[in-house]
Symmetry: C2
Subunit: 404 residues, 2 copies
């Protein structure tokens, strides 16, 4: 039984967070440096972008997580620290400064960056900001959740409680999304904390399985970021017997993790750059799970469908077109399509051909903020869900001049 | 030696064309039915979309071209004749009506459609329009080139002359593009005529080889259309000895074909829906031809880069990001990037990291209508070129409500 609670990444026992403006961003109007800290060393795991261009912080974090342990996460926004000559030096030195300030090994620091790629970066903002960042550590997760934002319009946080080994455990998460969002075997930035006791091996397994049906099913613009990362820490302070093998407790942990990651995935999609609508494509009746996922991602990724959803136009031919080019093994003559929202449901396509429907009703259904695109393949028992957003004038505006 | 000439598809000997408004489109302001006709049976070949959802005309055309012969091409705009219950009936009956009017077998007709997917269609506009269409056949290719347009802002036509077997031959082409453009082993609509004598087998080979480095290197929005098709007819009226084997004459034919297809590809990219700029990505130094093509297509396909080009923002990190997620085998530490246009060239990235450049100069270079993105991989001898366009407010506007 999962129950949603307040508190974000600070909801589990033994975690504090903070966020400051240290000067990576010139503008002082938004915080640009976040810290999440556990009072004791935690099992830790992460998944990373598959882009060949990788932010320097990912290389450093991978090295630090080799032992499956971490105690703090530091993340700046405003500069991706990617394609810089001194990128690893910056990420490593940041870890050392933070470690010294916290009294923990630099190798127990997870370091992340998000922002513009290929902009020069110096240690100066970190040297200036880290002392204050540590001084401000507290129970409020909001400053940290704000500090990792780029073009996000709001912070993305969630927490849940669940039972493992007869003990109440908690898990919290935050994420940033917005643009350059098309995770592939990894994700955008997401940080998750838990007080549940779980071995590093099972934690890594739970995370890498989970992202396949959560963060990896989100697309905003088809561009896989160079800095995607999701990191999770579990410090064991809930007091449950450590989860060291699969079974009921592991399942409960995975269920809680999935509640966090799906919530954050939907938040990221709905707050995609310029988005006015969350698109939720549910594919059923696929031959294989891979086919179901491929179709769902292709539909929410279609620029043409995204533009049609912005205009509340029930142009289902674009859904079928995306199903057709997705690469999945599909019998088009069996495909059905419906659009659904809080304002009702309209069935628009059956057996691969159009059915009569009321354009007025369709317009009404598609005027909602959250639209389900239901695709039935009629060819098997597998299903999948993917999240995206509409394509708007605002997306073009935001990205026509992002750097300056 | 290729020389550009006037006349489009009517430039080669023995071809006439026409275009009328027959009523597939309700608005009478634009022609919606095109005809291209050879005075004698011609060698003919076509390539088709790889989308599993295929327009009914493609199925019918494939059948008609089984013998490598055709004499006429008929194409309507305004309705894709795709995902309709009676689609093949319409395409086949159209061929029969046209065949009867021209006095040729229905099986010598190439039939094509472009427009909205999944809209009901009747024979009535064709029954009304075909007689007039044939009556108006003449030496002016412009009405036909206009009749195949959808959201294209201008017609796309070209013709060349070349020598084969000591004889002057001609070749002409027209195309429509605009949206749902991401050809994959096939293309958008393109129709090519020649008076050169060439066997159906070599014609098919020349076409299928050519599109790999022409139409298949174009992307507007990443959506592979259900109705992509390029068809070519060669009627032999130039009087050259029929090209029946590879050699100098075949090479001359291929060179002419490539001049036509690259010209049309660039026209399609530059007139992509809402586009204000043509993007031309030239990749050099790749290990394999496939790697070069993959990188070039990924760069011009990146929504983020397309938006940056709209804003004349030299955000080269987005070029590197696209190179990194393209899937090609690339050593990022060897990659260089420059932007180039009629206003100059600016070098922005070397060995995978930024170099200093003048933002003012970059802005100036990127203010041109035609922008070259030069990517050097420094890892081999293969190169490729791909064409795309910027992402603009107008793309969103056009596609937010295309059907109504």
């Amino acid at each position: 039984m999962i129950e949603y609670i307040e508190g974000g990444v600070c909801a589990p026992k033994g975690y504090k967070a903070s966020g400051v403006h240290c000067g990576v961003r010139k503008s002082r109007t938004k915080r640009d440096l976040a810290l999440i800290c556990s009072e004791k060393s935690a099992s830790a795991a992460a998944v990373y972008t598959t882009n060949l261009v990788k932010g320097a912080p990912l290389t450093v974090t991978k090295k630090h997580l080799a032992d499956g342990k971490a105690q703090a996460i530091i993340c700046n926004s405003g500069n991706a620290n990617t394609c810089n000559a001194n990128g690893e030096y910056i990420a490593e030195t940041t870890s050392e400064l933070l470690g010294a300030e916290l009294g923990i090994p630099a190798a127990d620091v997870i370091v992340a960056s998000t922002g513009v790629i290929g902009q020069a970066m110096t240690m100066e903002p970190f040297e200036r900001g880290i002392h204050e960042l540590v001084r401000l550590l507290g129970a409020d997760s909001a400053p940290a959740a704000e500090a990792i934002m780029t073009t996000d319009t709001h912070a993305k946080e969630i927490a849940v409680k669940f039972m493992a080994g007869g003990v109440e455990c908690r898990m919290g998460g935050m994420a940033k999304g917005s643009g350059m969002i098309h995770p592939n075997m990894a994700t955008m930035l997401g940080f998750i904390t838990s007080d549940c006791a779980i071995s590093p091996e099972l934690l890594a397994k739970a995370l890498s399985e989970d992202v396949k049906s959560s963060f990896n099913m989100v697309t905003v613009d088809g561009d896989t970021s160079t800095n995607d990362m999701v990191a999770v820490m579990a410090n064991g302070l809930a007091g449950n017997a450590e989860i060291c093998s699969e079974g009921n407790d592991y399942d409960a942990f995975c269920e809680a993790l999935h509640a966090i990651t799906v919530y954050l995935s939907r938040q990221i999609a709905g707050d995609g750059e310029g988005a006015t609508k969350l698109l939720d494509c549910v594919v059923t009746g696929a031959k294989t799970l891979e086919d179901a996922r491929t179709v769902a991602r292709a539909v929410v990724g279609s620029a043409l469908l995204k533009a049609a959803m912005f205009g509340a136009d029930a142009n289902w031919g674009r859904v079928l077109c995306a199903v057709g080019y997705s690469g999945a093994d599909v019998d088009i003559s069996k495909v059905g399509v419906s659009f659904k929202s809080e304002f009702g449901e309209v069935h628009v396509c059956e057996f691969g051909a159009g059915v009569e429907f009321s354009e007025e009703q369709a317009k009404n259904v598609l005027s909602a903020k959250e639209i389900y695109i239901l695709v039935t393949l009629g060819d098997g028992a597998q299903s999948a869900e993917a999240w995206g957003c509409d394509l708007t004038y605002e997306y073009v505006k935001i990205n026509g001049d992002y750097r300056t």
